[in-house]
Symmetry: C2
Subunit: 328 residues, 2 copies
DNA sequence: GGGTTTTCTGAAAACGATTTCTGAAACGCG
DNA sequence: CGCGTTTCAGAAATCGTTTTCAGAAAACCC
């Protein structure tokens, strides 16, 4: 029942080949082109993408597989990626893995079945390891989480530097026993932990950190135990905004006042980090840039497949607020 | 270069037809099925979805077009929809319109080109009107925003009731001059306004509301003006969580203390509405239910196309917090 | 045991577009 | 004017599957 290219051809009095050429800007006389356009309008023809993709052997689709859409960091990056893609006339398939390696495997398989042109991916640690053994069959740019061996293009934050900045900021304000809470599922968490450890060591202070699953609730319960123990830290650095909300709740529950009893600093400049009282000190990531640059790297690789692998390291901006006021 | 069904057939010593049947659970002897599975594993075969969709004339894809992924309401609904879809063996194409009718039109066209099996859609007012004139060519379930004429299945919140509950809550706490701020892009905003007006009228009080574009910044600047004028309200009801953050910022900027100078209530129980001081009184929406039920309606319609149109109205839950403490 | 189902398999058509190939007409040029 | 070249249009092949069709073998039934 649906109108196909043959129907348009018949309506325009030309061959299907001519219709195809007219629509894709091929060599067609102005006269026929006009007839075709009129016929398209008259019939309401919409090309069948499945057929087009099959014949032309290109999907015109890029895959975007992120770890957690509830994390505003990823929604922001997604928007930037989508904008770039649509501007370039490409479609985007957006998938959400929930930091679950199984779902990652599932989606990677799906991407392959869709024959995507390229992939932008924020993998878990587990999948990242497999990725260095078995290369993906399509051009891939990793975001937020870098491949260690330099096998894939990637665009990431300078995690060590950013965390170091937070630590030094706290030290300057007079804090000495500075705890850390980092995600255990991504290399990002580990890199931030390393930056944290390095900065403390450089200052001659002792690191004291924990790792936990990447959810606000996991953070809250981990911290609840820590806060009620005798070795509770004076200050805390956490590795993302989910952890920040968990930390605030845990502090409230334990009756700790911020920053008097506990200074707090973390990542991602969400709206609410400013609205909460006191405001939270955070590292703001250049989210739009991350998305845009990832697409830029991907397009370059598509055009020139044998480019050397590039790693783009962007730096964050420290936004100081009341949660890290000077120690009294 | 990529391995196709013929290669698998050759490796398994059977015909392509048999491979296809073996993989789709058709009538194949156990012996051949095992051979095929072995061959699939050996060759690493992944079916080409474009070819499959073209031949079988079904995309196995449902479209999900939402208004704003930065709004956690929609990310939550999306997750529920995706879960249901994948459980049913369907894929999801997720699109973000930014409440922009042009992008909506673009995406609807794309959906048609993808020949999606069904659509779940949160349209703007503008598009909603067009939708009642020209029916979409695929089964559609509207979410969050109902079609007035009853042309499409939909699942929505009982906006009038929920807003009424907020208004009565404020009246009980002693507030009389209760302002309102509602989004102008969606029918949701208007329904909430109507509920607000009705509740105030019922109590013999005078409504005093404004409409604005659906963004936190628009809300903030609208309110900035209002707060500095002599007819500033004692309490404010706003129609979503973006407006809530805008309202808190505007109140801070104007030096208004919540709830002493301004009580505040709104929609969507985000994490931060509890973390902010004082906590914000909100209507919590049954987000998972909305997504799940939308998929349920869609599947039913796919199975039984001539079902009467159904409208599912879910009710919200009022979460009272400090921002609407009793008037002193 | 012969005829009728049933069960399984392979050959070939089909899905709806793009692309290659072929040819006709138009054009350029000495 | 004649010959090569270019330009444009249509016929037909093609993409990689699924599905129809037809047939062989097995199973079933008096």
């Amino acid at each position: 029942m649906t109108v196909g290219i043959k129907d348009v051809a018949k309506a325009a009095g030309v061959s299907p080949a001519t219709v195809s050429r007219a629509l894709s800007g091929g060599p067609v006389s102005d006269e026929l082109r006009a007839q075709v356009e009129a016929a398209v309008k008259a019939t309401g023809y919409r090309p069948n993408l499945a057929a087009r993709r099959l014949r032309s052997q290109q999907s015109g689709t890029i895959g975007l597989v992120v770890a957690d859409l509830r994390n505003p960091f990823f929604t922001a990056v997604s928007r930037a990626v989508e904008d770039s893609a649509y501007r370039a006339g490409m479609r985007v398939i957006l998938c959400n893995t929930d930091e679950d390696p199984e779902r990652e495997a599932l989606y990677l398989q799906l991407m392959q079945e869709e024959r995507i042109t390229g992939l932008i991916f924020a993998p878990t640690r587990t999948t990242l390891e497999q990725l260095s053994r078995r290369r993906l069959e399509f051009p891939t740019v990793l975001i937020d989480r870098a491949s260690p061996a330099g096998l894939y293009d990637c665009v990431v934050l300078d995690n060590a530097a950013a965390t170091g900045e937070l630590v030094r900021h706290l030290i300057e304000r007079g804090y000495r026993h500075i705890g850390g809470l980092f995600g255990n599922a991504s290399v990002t968490g580990l890199e931030r932990r390393d930056g944290y450890v390095a900065a403390l060591n450089a200052a001659g202070l002792k690191p004291d950190f924990r790792l936990c699953a990447p959810s606000a609730d996991a953070a809250r319960s981990t911290l609840a135990g820590w806060f009620s123990s005798p070795d509770r830290p004076e200050a805390l650095v956490v590795s993302n905004s989910l952890f920040l909300s968990g930390a605030v709740r845990a502090a409230r529950a334990a009756g700790l006042s911020i920053p008097r009893d506990l200074a707090l600093a973390g990542f991602d400049n969400e709206v609410w980090t400013e609205l909460v009282e006191p405001g939270l000190t955070v590292i703001e990531q250049p989210v739009e840039d991350i998305g845009r640059q990832a697409m830029a790297l991907l397009f370059e690789r598509l055009q020139t497949p044998h480019l050397p692998v590039r790693k783009l390291v962007l730096s964050g901006r420290c936004v100081a607020r009341g949660s890290t006021a000077a120690r009294v």
